[in-house]
Symmetry: C2
Subunit: 363 residues, 2 copies
């Protein structure tokens, strides 16, 4: 598969059909791995990096999970292609800026992505739409075992997997979920949730990880520690934290409807009206409006099956995807016109909202 | 005609069919008159005021223009009824607060209203939709002549008509137009217009006259001076100032479309989308949104015949009318829900916007 085919195929994240819990948009597990006795990417010289890249690309691409997928050197991708990969959460912002020596292997269904020579030699990640922590873990565990047969990983019996940054030592695993928490945001309860989650050893971040903001009321929750706890244990603990956040969000939604349905419906209605009629829309405003309409779909204001349209637009309304659809790069103000035009078209045939407090509560 | 019948009949202002110039919503001429050798209302005792009220009501109600109209003492009107009369520009805010001794006579078509014992014994006014200064002047001139046959007005050969406030001395006439100037507001040119208009001896005020704000980009332009100039001369001079403001507004609209059609269409589209989908709407936000949709109708974004729907809603979305339609008073937050519900219903079948820069320019 080449990059053009990948881009024209839907992202795993737009397939929310299999998701039982709409509040969790996506589950992700990633492992950091490094080749034994080879310099970490930050220390390696160009020649070392090139050799490591070659070894890793060959090993990863031949794993059964990655067959007929994408296998590229980052240097061969345009800026726009890199941006699209970031927007699909297939590569990190750091890797998208890589000049040389970096590579990427993506499975055909876009659920598995392996970054080469990012901070570590290998960053293996599995994405699954909705809440599918165990399934994501099983997939990544199988791939890791497969790679271990052909690559010699840096491993210490006392410290576990060795990584470029000491915070990843041990399991070198980070499991996370991308959650849609509009009611907690509207009710002003996110700060409280973040504190509680931190006390349980988990971290809350914005949509694109560390240092990014939570536009669209979308947050990433992930484990903080990688040392002294088995992978399955971390996955289980994260799962129960996620369930507790889901319960709080559901509760916050019910309270909002009980205490001030008019205000909530007003927000959802206006968001829909603006998406259907605006002529200039920034990326961040679009995310926030789509987020409110998504909440509407959860509450029965819109048919539940329309949620997948919104999930697709949450990705396709972003700058890279938008420019790709227009076959060319353009400046931000031009993008805002294109984004509004695209969303007007998408929402022209979107079902009209039906507000009735009794329809809510199906999460 | 009783007050209930008046309220249930459409205001003269909603009949914009006869108006060639949509930018002028309404033309108004008013005359202040006082009975000779009787104390002004501010000085008169209760007994005097009652006698003046009786004399004036009888004389005005028997004028041909006022036949089968409304003839009431303010004391007999509820707060809500008074508020509705203010919203239709039939009485002033001052008169609506009158406790006793004040009266009102309104013609059957709601184009002529005579306030009794407001600041002067008689405040005679004629309203006409659109730009109809001469027609308004002819109507009021006829009524004034008719009243003069039966009432003895305070008049000085050197000062003209005597009035409670010296600023009205002379003709005691104020002619005004209510203008819709959204493009001048968006382009930030209103301050310049106000200065120029002032230099020509005219005054710019908000929607409800002195001290009110210009929500919905609606302004009142009127003559400042009443002394040393004949009525016809004032009317003529005001007419040419109005025409010049119309030209500036038309020009500002053309420039906005040329320079940034996207931004203008964005404002109009969002206003329409919010009116169609909001669930909470304050009076002032509703005015501003309706104002933008009205601009859209002027520019061909909506069919021109829908402008009369907006003109009606500019009056009916106000607090008094809204509460009357719901058959009872309610608090402001409840009103905001009712207003949004009313506008959702009205806009559900409003034609969808069609944006095309070439359709503009029909003012």
């Amino acid at each position: 598969m080449d990059i053009a085919t990948l881009i024209d195929s839907p992202s795993e994240l737009t397939d929310s059909a299999g998701s039982k819990t709409a509040i969790v948009l996506m589950t992700r597990v990633r492992l950091a791995r490094n080749l034994d006795r080879r310099s970490f990417p930050g220390w390696a010289n160009e020649q070392d990096k090139a050799a490591i890249l070659e070894t890793c690309r060959a090993a990863v691409a031949s794993a059964p999970a990655m067959r007929r997928g994408l296998n590229v050197a980052l240097a061969d991708l345009s800026d726009l292609e890199r941006q699209i990969l970031v927007e699909r959460h297939l590569i990190s912002r750091e890797l998208s800026g890589a000049k040389s020596g970096a590579g990427l292997v993506v499975s055909r269904d876009q659920a598995v992505a392996v970054m080469i020579n990012e901070e570590d030699h290998l960053r293996i990640q599995v994405l699954r739409s909705g809440l599918q922590l165990k399934r994501a873990w099983n997939t990544i565990n199988d791939l890791d075992s497969n790679l271990e047969e052909r690559l010699d990983f840096a491993y210490s019996p006392t410290l576990g997997y060795l990584t470029a940054c000491p915070t990843n030592l041990g399991t070198a695993m980070r499991a996370s979920a991308m959650m849609h928490l509009p009611a907690l945001v509207i009710a002003g309860q996110m700060e409280k949730v973040v504190r509680a989650v931190n006390q349980l050893g988990m971290v809350v971040r914005g949509l694109f990880g560390e240092g990014s903001d939570a536009s669209g009321s979308i947050f990433q929750i992930s484990n903080q520690t990688t040392l002294g706890e088995a992978e399955e244990e971390i996955i289980k603990r994260l799962g129960s934290v996620l369930q507790s956040i889901i319960d709080h969000e559901v509760n916050a939604r019910e309270k909002l409807i009980e205490s001030d349905a008019g205000k909530l419906f007003d927000k959802i209605g206006r968001a829909y009206g603006i998406l259907q009629n605006s002529h200039m829309l920034s990326s961040s405003e679009a995310m926030n409006l789509l987020s409110l309409v998504r909440l509407g779909a959860d509450l029965g204001v819109f048919p539940a099956e329309q949620r997948s349209i919104i999930d697709r637009l949450l990705i396709e309304a972003q700058p890279g995807h938008l420019q790709h659809a227009q076959r060319g790069e353009c400046d931000p103000s031009q993008r805002d016109l294109l984004r509004a035009a695209r969303l007007r078209t998408e929402f022209a045939n979107f079902g009209r909202p039906e507000f009735s407090p009794s329809r809510n509560g199906n999460n």
